[in-house]
């Protein structure tokens, strides 16, 4: 018996089979809205994700090592600056405490039992970034077994980072608000005027995101105005800080305004994030 001659048609059939599998997978995941992907995501949980966690530890360690090389001079300068900041913050804090007391009194008067500022959160590490340069999603090391669910909001510090779009048993994918496909319903903090905050790849290198469709009212919006998630959003919880207005201009239609926002979160050095354990849908159902 000689070895079989390779069949010239064989690879074409293989191509057809694989392509059909791909198309079927696409249709299946599209029709089931991502629910059919669960088995594949469990596989990732046991293969890639543990290793990403390991590499991430090494990466964080290297980062810390690099930070240690900051010179004494910069540290001293920073210390001085921070001291000044402490002074100004102390004054600010005193003012805020007074206002807080007033707020509590008024809340009691209104019997508001919903306190938007205290959402329950769990911490997670960022273990991998999107492998392509087209989108800004990242993977965190907590998954459905840790209580992470799709549509939960993700924060870092006091600012909004994004939303959970996919979960495995011990990992989850988060789409950040600077991602090109991201849309957040937002509002100006002082006037409650709503707008849409839209991620844009063309603006990513400038470190800003765009906001649109802010109704042109007599309310004056200044540069530096805080932008938070709005009460009309179906997925984002109310009152999470998105960023500060850095530029604003009237649109050509003279009815709406748009501009740019500097995000409150530094997206280039994201290492730890907080996942809010309640989705908006659960909140509103209560």
């Amino acid at each position: 018996m000689k070895t079989k001659k390779p069949n010239p048609l064989a690879s074409k059939y293989w191509l057809l089979i694989l392509s059909v599998i791909c198309v079927l997978l696409m249709v299946l995941s599209f029709v089931s809205d991502g629910k059919a992907n669960t088995p594949l995501q469990v596989i990732a949980d046991y293969t890639v994700v543990p290793m990403q966690k390991g590499i991430n530890h090494v990466g964080t360690w290297l980062n810390d090592l690099a930070d240690n090389f900051e010179t004494l001079k910069t540290v001293k300068k920073e210390n001085q600056k921070l001291q000044e900041q402490v002074d100004s913050l102390t004054i600010e804090k005193n003012n805020l405490q007074q206002e807080q007391a007033e707020l509590e009194r008024l809340r009691e008067l209104y019997k508001l039992d919903l306190n938007y500022s205290d959402y329950e959160k769990i911490g997670a590490h960022v273990i991998a970034n999107n492998g392509s340069n087209w989108f800004s999603t990242f993977t965190i090391d907590k998954g459905s077994e840790d209580g992470v669910k799709v549509d939960q909001n993700v924060m870092a510090g006091s600012g909004l980072v994004g939303i959970v779009t996919k979960t495995g048993p011990h990992w989850a994918e988060v789409r950040s608000i600077i991602d090109d496909a991201s849309n957040v319903s937002a509002m100006m903090l002082s006037t409650s005027d709503t707008c849409i905050v839209r991620g844009d790849l063309t603006l990513m290198q400038d470190g800003v995101i765009r906001f649109e469709q802010l109704a042109k009212t007599e309310n004056r919006i200044e540069v530096g105005e805080q932008v938070v998630t709005s009460y009309t959003s179906s997925k984002y919880l109310q009152g999470i800080l998105i960023g500060y207005v850095s530029e604003i201009h009237d649109d050509a239609n003279n009815l709406t305004r748009s501009g740019y926002i500097t995000p409150a979160v530094d997206f280039t050095h994201l290492q730890e994030v907080l996942v809010v354990t309640k989705t908006k849908a659960e909140m509103t159902k209560q």
Binding site: C22, G59, A128, T165, T202
Partner: protein, 177 residues
């Protein structure tokens, strides 16, 4: 036995490159661009080993991308794209010589360019983002240059591993003649 070894080593290469791409190289970005190692793996196995292997390896590379960083909840998009790229590179197996570095670079360059263009057309232009020149100059071209630079190193490693495996397979095949 040797076949199992080849499958295992290939699998290892894919996983390692995927991990590097999603973790280490995200910290080694130039102009916030990371290289595309999966293209290098898919294309080089395509022209080194032929259509069938290129196709299967491309499929798994793409599937991995889909599961972890897919477009929304869609699975299969990158799998299809990488499968086709692996198959396409398989056509050039007849022209491939291990000593020649020009063909691999040209093929990986071509594959990566195609990848960028398809990405733009299907994921960006379809959402009415028409500023093609921006995406070409800020995303596609930098990624292309960076990937080709990485190719100079990574391709040599993959080539060595493949040559070693092929030598072993030849030896064990000649034993049974």
């Amino acid at each position: 036995m040797l076949k199992v070894k080849r499958v295992f080593i290939t699998f290892l290469i894919i996983i390692i490159c995927f991990l590097l791409q999603s973790t280490v190289f995200q910290n080694l970005e130039f102009a916030s661009i990371a290289p595309n190692l999966m293209i290098i793996v898919t294309a080089s196995f395509g022209f080194m080993r032929g259509k069938n292997e290129g196709m299967v390896i491309g499929f798994f590379c793409g599937l991995l991308m889909d599961i972890m960083f897919g477009v929304g909840s869609l699975i299969g998009f990158y799998a299809l794209l990488y499968t086709l790229i692996g198959y396409g590179n398989g056509w050039f197996k007849r022209l491939f010589f291990a000593e020649d570095i020009k063909l691999p670079i040209a093929l990986i360059f071509g594959s990566e360019f195609l990848f960028g263009i398809v990405n733009y057309l299907l994921l960006y232009m379809m959402r009415s983002k028409f500023d093609f020149l921006f995406y070409l100059s800020r995303i596609i071209m930098p990624e292309l240059v960076y990937t080709v630079l990485i190719t100079l190193v990574l391709y040599q490693i993959i080539l060595r591993i493949n040559q070693k495996l092929e030598a072993e397979e030849k030896r064990s095949a000649s034993k049974f003649v």
